[in-house]
Symmetry: C2
Subunit: 133 residues, 2 copies
């Protein structure tokens, strides 16, 4: 199973990361996700990392890249379910995920996506971008 | 990562199977799922197997067990995203998943769960009064 499934739920895409994102898998995942955003005209991407116990600089960079890429494609990315230990490691590694929006769990992430995207699927201009750990 | 994450979405639970369900992992997953159904009082469980390429009799039995267990717990289980090759293999193995509801994808599975569960979270008695012409 060399592919991370991307689930379409309305105008959002949902992904749960359950395996270590080594090089090729991560790059394939990036490409798949961006193509899916384009194909289904997704307005938001929700990435659940609650099963991720160990994080390294590569994984941090991948998450940042995905957030940047989807933003260029006019979609919002929210990372949810981060374990406390992972947050600690990321900050200690000097990777506080700038530009990546986070939420505690999938439900809160969905609320955030709905609030980011206006009633007509149009992104709201939201000045409040506090994402401090 | 020896745990399959179970995502709570409203009154439903969502699981994507991305790794081979070998013995211990499958049994842990069964137990986790049933405990989660109890804990959050879930009314439905959606299991996405779109990343599953190979299926054996063990996996078929696990899916059947989960459907039976959740039914006893007063929740509905829908399996979604089955690949055509997997469906062929299951039937050829003599495991046509009796008692397991299926849908083509997550969106259709969610619709099915909503239709199975009434407006007040109560299961509907399906009185199918089809008017034969």
């Amino acid at each position: 199973m060399e592919k991370i499934p991307i689930l379409k739920m309305g105008q959002f895409l949902l992904v749960t990361i359950q395996v270590d994102l080594y090089d090729r898998l991560a790059l394939n995942f990036e490409a798949d996700l961006i193509q899916m955003v384009n194909k289904v005209e997704a307005k938001g991407v929700l990435i659940d990392i609650s099963a991720v116990n160990i994080v390294d600089s590569f994984m941090g960079r991948i998450l940042g890249n995905i957030a940047d890429m989807t933003r260029i494609m006019d979609a919002q990315t929210v990372v949810v379910g981060m374990q406390p230990a992972v947050a600690i490691t990321l900050v200690e590694l000097g990777l506080p995920l700038p530009g990546v929006r986070t939420a505690l769990n999938v439900e809160k992430g969905m609320e955030l996506l709905h609030s980011l995207i206006g009633p007509n699927g149009k992104e709201e201009t939201c000045e409040n971008d506090s994402n401090a750990f």
